[in-house]
Amino acid sequence: MGLHAYLTLSALVFAIGLFGVLTRRNAIGILLGIELMLNAVNINLVAFSRFTGDLGGLVFSLFTISITVAEVALGLAIVIVIFRVRKTVEADRLDLLRG
C-alpha cells in the first residue's frame, strides 16, 4: 500500500468531519465532527512517520491524541455549562456574538 492510499483515506475522513462540523445543529454533534477531523490528522501523522522512518510523527500523534482528550473533556464541560445556562445546545441559537 502506498502513502497515497493512506493520505487519500485521511483526506476523505477529514472532509467528512468538516461536513459534520458545518452541518450539525447540536453542539455535541459538532464536537464529534471535530473528533473525526483530528483523527484524520492522526492517520496522516502516523502514515508519514511510517513512510519516512521518523519517530517524530508518532510522538506528535501521541500528543495530539492526548490534547484531543483534554479538548473533548473541556469542550463537553463547556457544552454542559451552556446547556445549564441557555437550556439548549443548539449551535444556531448560541449567537450572542452576533453583530
Partner: protein, 164 residues
Amino acid sequence: MIVETVGFAVVAVVLLASSLAVVLTKNLFHAVLYLAAALVSTAGIFLLLASPFLFAVQLLLYAGGVVTIVVFAIMLTERLVGERIAQTSRDIVNGAIVAAAVLVAVIGFLVQAPAMTPPATAVAEQTVAIGKALVGPFAVPLELLGLLLVAALLGAVYFARAED
C-alpha cells in the same frame, strides 16, 4: 501484500462508513457509537502502519476514554432536558460542497506528490524508542502537555461543578 491490501480495504470501508454515519445519523447516541467504530478502525489503520503502540493508545485513550466522556455528556444533557436528543442537520448542500471542495484541494496536492515506498523494516522496538524520545528530545513538550492536561482537568471540573 495481499493480506495488507485486503486489510486496508476492509478497514478503510469501515472507517468511511462509520464516519459518514457519525455525521448523518439522527440519533446522537448512535452517532457516538459510530464514532467509536471509526476510532477503532483508525486504530486498525495504525496497526497496518506498523505502530502497535499507537494502536493501543488509540484504543485505550480515544475509543475508550473519549467515547465514554461523550456518552456521559449526552446522558447528562438528556437528563436535564428530559427527552431524547435527536439531532438534525442544516445547510447540508452547502456543507457538502465546501467539504468536497476542501477534499478536492487536498487531493490536488496528493496527485502532485511523488510516490513513496516505506522503508523495508519499521522502527525496531517502537515502544522503547517512543519512550526514550519522550524523556529525551521531547521532554519539554511532554511536560508542557502535562501542564495542559492539568489545566484542562481543572477547567473541566470548574465548569462542570454543581451550581451553588
